[in-house]
């Protein structure tokens, strides 16, 4: 038991920081689900492509020896480009693969999303290769900042950044959705597409915007996670997607606070699972928690229960 207690503080930190990563991905999922009530299976791939974009930006700057630039500026540039590419890709996907299916059965939409995901993954595999791309982060963030030792606990600068960004995004998005005109139009569209259109809301545009924002968030997340774990590869979307969407569902899909909570619960449960069981079972524990939560609260931790109208 002592052995477990000894590592517990570090494992809690591990869990929270990993949770931050999951939460970051889950937010994008939740945005899209909130408006179209669809699981965007392709989100993982959009995320991955965002990561590649970030890598290319870094790579080009690196080649041009422009890394003497302020690290903050470099990261900002990466994030901006990744968001733009991911966002546009998201909009494109919506236009091609989802919009024609807006009135089709859910399963069709799900499979169409799956098709997009398979296509994008293998598209990147073909044109980018299977090779993992590494981010030279040492050149960006000095070692002293990258790893911080605090008593018995070690954490890194990027991990803190991920959590901070996560909270900022959530606050920003909540305010945007709650108070701006665009946010209200988004909510109206989510609640009743036809009526929203009759109020003069350009529904197609709103859905496009949501896809843009959701996908751009995915791109930003991917760059941050890439900087944190120093790598991106064509398969990154699948693993990230699975966990991100587990987190989103766990928290109550469509609910941004829920997505965050779900991310942290998932991250912590994985870290604690590794502490007490063989590491191979960490995902088993995560999925068992998901199942248990959904069986007890089928609408997730913070999701809204929407009773069926009879």
């Amino acid at each position: 038991m002592d052995m477990f207690l000894e590592q517990l503080p570090q494992q809690l930190v591990n869990g929270i920081t990993l949770g931050g990563v999951y939460a970051l991905i889950a937010i994008g999922y939740s945005m899209v689900y909130g408006i179209l009530s669809m699981l965007n299976f392709a989100h993982g791939e959009v995320y991955m492509i965002g990561g590649f974009t970030g890598w290319w930006v870094l790579h080009l700057l690196y080649r041009e020896n422009a890394l003497a630039m302020n690290a903050v500026a470099v990261i900002a540039l990466m994030v901006v480009f990744a968001m733009a590419v991911s966002g546009i890709l998201g909009v494109l996907i919506e236009r091609v693969a989802y919009r024609p299916l807006r009135h089709a059965p859910r399963i069709n939409l799900l499979l169409s999303a799956l098709g997009v995901s398979i296509f994008l993954q293998n598209f990147v595999l073909t044109f980018q290769g299977a090779k993992v791309r590494s981010f030279p982060v040492a050149a960006l963030v000095p070692e002293s900042l990258r790893v911080i030792q605090l008593g018995p606990v070690v954490f890194s600068f990027m991990r803190v950044l991920v959590i901070v960004v996560c909270f900022c995004l959530m606050a920003g998005l909540s305010i945007m959705i709650k108070s701006t005109k665009l946010g209200k139009a988004m909510r109206a569209t989510a609640q009743d597409v036809e009526t929203a259109a009759f109020m003069g809301v350009d529904v197609d545009r709103i859905i496009m915007v949501v896809f843009f924002i959701g996908s751009a968030l995915g791109g930003a997340a991917s760059v941050l996670v890439g900087l944190l774990f120093t790598q991106v590869d064509y398969y990154a979307g699948f693993a990230a997607g699975l966990k991100g969407f587990t987190a989103a569902v766990l928290g109550g899909i469509g609910n941004l606070y829920g997505a965050m909570l779900g991310g942290f619960v998932l991250g912590l449960s994985e870290a604690l699972a590794v502490t007490f069981f063989p590491a191979a079972y960490k995902d088993v524990v995560a999925f068992v928690i998901l199942i248990a939560v959904l069986i007890l609260r089928p609408w997730g931790l913070m999701g809204e229960k929407s009773p069926e109208k009879v």
Partner: protein, 248 residues
Amino acid sequence: MDEQPILELDGIDVFYGAIQVLYGIRITLNRGELVCLLGGNASGKSTTLKTILGSCRPKSGKIFLNGERIDTLPTKEIIRRGIAIVPENRRIFPRMSVGENLEMGAYLRKDRDRVRKDRQRILELFPRLAERIEQPGATLSGGEQQMLAMARALMSRPDVLLMDEPSMGLSPRLVDQQFDLIQAVNKQGTTIFMVEQNAGMALSIADRGYVLQTGSIVMADTAASLLCDPMMREAYLGGDAACGVVDP
């Protein structure tokens, strides 16, 4: 009154896929009128409204609003030009507050000051809504939802207000209240085009009426004449309604 009609449908044909659902519909609305469109199920009433709003596109025919052709415009532009709708079953946004629902009504308006004034005015008209301004729409009672739907539509200062089955699913008292409200709004100068199954009630407050049957207009006359028309009485008024007296 040789004034130009405020809304004019000129020979509208609409198809769903290969099936024609509207046949050469001609309807005119003059400023300040209250006109109803009657007809059974699947006769094409809702399609007519959707066509006016641009969510169904006519295959042929034209629609004019204040003399301007609107049948090729997107929904948003049609609404900007002065049409609003109270949809069937009211369809308020359930998880938005009453205030936000009203804001959605004024979604396209840019004149913030006047929007604020209109909001004041409308809330005075519906004091119950003012009391519940922060409540989510879903928590309102049936009558209050009906007020909200109406208030929301008025927030856009429409020239023409479309109403889709305003009495559907309402208790008799609320139906009365609803029709009183429609009349009141019309008296204040808003032109109203109402689609309704409850022919007796509708004709009792309308100026004129159209009867739609399997996609074609089969009758068009003043409300009073329609109420006394034998065929009309047989098919839509339940036969035993006395001429000029309403019996729902």
